[in-house]
């Protein structure tokens, strides 16, 4: 297993966000984490990235324990997140944002160079000198993913990449993810757009109230109308 999460508990501001979540991802897998708003999906990603410290449990990447490691050390190991709301650096150019992403390499060999990122997202090449704050939401999302790629990811954590994007842009972003997956990238995808997430991933976990309520292959889950109706609500079309 590339990523092994075992019985993780976490809370913030006195609210219990994760209540014993276990999740495993093999190298080269694309796994979706779906569930309603407030289920604890983002908290789990932030536990992996070291931004939230779990109260109990274990998170291992290639056997190395991540819990209680500082966030910068985790990103330098190649556990890289494209955070919710993109979080691009607004007053820096597209190129500079990508170069900031390369900081996470910290001596490791890169997996993607600027050319690779520009081939994946040609619009970023066109806008390379433009300030990131002036990009559209979709372009910012592409930049956030590109920035993570520049850091040489062993595993890519994506938090709501489709949030607030027009359907045609969502399709572009997911097409890029499909290409990354084809090239062997390990991806953990957090999504509210359940249909899209299930369509593109190998396996999926459904979490609610901080617990895994069901899991399985994405194609099976995608055909389970009960699950879609019950857990996804208006999840996507």
């Amino acid at each position: 297993m590339l990523l092994s999460i075992d019985d993780i508990h976490a809370s913030y501001s006195g609210i219990r966000a994760l209540d014993g979540v276990s999740l495993h991802i093999a190298k080269g897998e694309m796994v979706a984490l779906i569930g309603p708003n407030g289920a604890g999906k983002s908290t789990l990603l932030n536990c992996i990235s070291g931004i939230v410290t779990p109260t109990a449990g274990s998170i291992k990447v290639e056997g190395v324990e991540l819990v209680r490691k500082p966030a910068r050390a985790i990103s330098r190991m190649g556990v890289l997140q494209s955070p919710e709301g993109r979080q691009v650096l607004p007053d820096m150019s597209v190129l500079e944002n990508l170069m900031v992403g390369a900081n996470a390499l910290h001596g490791r060999a890169p997996t993607h160079d600027l050319g690779d990122v520009y081939r994946l997202f040609p619009i970023l090449d066109e806008r390379r000198e433009q300030m990131a704050g002036s990009l559209s939401g979709g372009q910012q999302q592409m930049l956030a993913i590109g920035r993570a790629l520049m850091g040489g990811p062993n595993i890519l954590l994506l938090d709501e990449p489709s949030l607030g994007l027009a359907p045609v842009i969502v399709q572009q972003v997911f097409d890029a993810l499909a290409r990354l997956r084809q090239d062997g990238m390990t991806i953990l995808l957090v999504e509210q757009n359940a249909r899209k997430a299930l369509q593109f991933s190998d396996r999926a976990y459904v979490i609610e109230h901080g617990r895994v309520v069901t899991q399985g292959s994405s194609s099976e889950l995608a055909h389970n109308d009960d699950i879609l109706a019950h857990y996804m609500g208006t999840g996507g079309h």
């Binding site: 990103s75 900081n103 704050g133």
Partner: protein, 296 residues
């Protein structure tokens, strides 16, 4: 002698720029209004003076003052700001904390100097006057202009052209995103406070030399002028602080030369209000949304 006054003003403006840039750097990046900046500036002047009195040449004293003031700035970061930052709401509490840090520095200097005005020895800096195009410029003035130019240039290059500077700006714009890219904010805070303190220390020695007066309260008027320069230029804007500093220096010198010293502050603060009425975010300030985004 209008041109002569302009030249004098530009040179004083260069010193303001050194002072203001360090101040705006901390505000722009860490959103901390560091009211101890005047104290750090004064500390630099004292270190320079004591080094010269200990028999060191002025250029060594200058370097020691920069390093010393930089370290004092870092110590203030660690003792007065770091814990507050971890608690979240840093802006107001850091303001109060920085007033406390300033009081500590000023009190130490007051005790050391026994509340007296100190001076560099007469021959600290060779007195050479250059005359050209009807202007008279001293070697000290040239040195000040040159140093200000070089230091401001080096700092801009560092911030905007190096990988380190890119990390600094990344932390300034989004600390969490920087963290997710493997940047260590603690190291950035160390660098920016060191840099800011070094610029203040350099300004302290230059002011001590230029006005031949070093005393424990010397930071206060500079802090006030630093505020004006930083607000005129646009909070956090390096280019704005530079232009506003030079303009401030020239305006101050001209109003003292042609009107009266007591009018100079009225003119300068009057101008500040006019600029703020017309451009609420300063000459080089960001648009409204940009300022809000910067504060979020």
């Amino acid at each position: 002698m209008f041109l002569q006054q302009v030249v004098n003003g530009l040179i004083i403006g260069g010193v303001y720029a050194l002072f203001a840039l360090g101040f705006t750097l901390i505000f722009g990046i860490h959103k901390i209004m560091n009211l101890a900046h005047g104290g750090i500036f004064m500390t630099g002047a004292f270190i320079g003076l004591y080094s010269v009195q200990a028999g060191l040449p002025i250029w060594v004293a200058f370097i020691l003052a920069m390093i010393g003031a930089g370290l004092v700035s870092v110590i203030i970061e660690v003792t007065a700001f770091r814990r507050l930052r971890q608690s979240g709401e840093v802006e107001f509490s850091a303001l109060i904390s920085s007033i406390g840090a300033n009081l500590v520095l000023v009190s130490i200097a007051q005790i050391l100097s026994r509340t007296q005005v100190l001076r560099f020895p007469f021959d600290t800096f060779p007195i050479i006057i250059f005359s050209f195009w009807g202007l008279r410029v001293s070697a000290l003035q040239l040195a000040i202009a040159l140093l200000a130019l070089v230091l401001v240039g080096v700092m801009s290059w560092y911030l905007y052209k190096t990988a380190f500077g890119r990390q600094v700006r990344a932390v300034a714009q989004n600390e969490r995103a920087a963290l997710l890219s493997g940047i260590r904010p603690g190291a950035i805070y160390f660098q920016t406070f060191m840099l800011s303190g070094m610029l203040a220390g350099a300004a302290g020695v230059l002011v001590g030399l230029a006005f031949n007066s070093i005393h424990f309260m010397m930071g206060d008027p500079f802090l006030l002028r630093g505020f004006v320069v930083v607000i005129l230029g646009g909070l956090g804007s390096v280019a704005g602080a530079l232009v506003a500093s030079l303009g401030f220096g020239v305006l101050q010198t001209l109003s003292i030369a042609y009107l009266s010293a007591s009018l100079s502050d009225i003119i300068i603060f009057g101008l500040l209000f006019v600029v703020l009425l017309l451009r609420p975010n300063g000459l080089f300030g960001k648009d409204e949304a940009g300022v809000l985004r910067g504060r979020r």
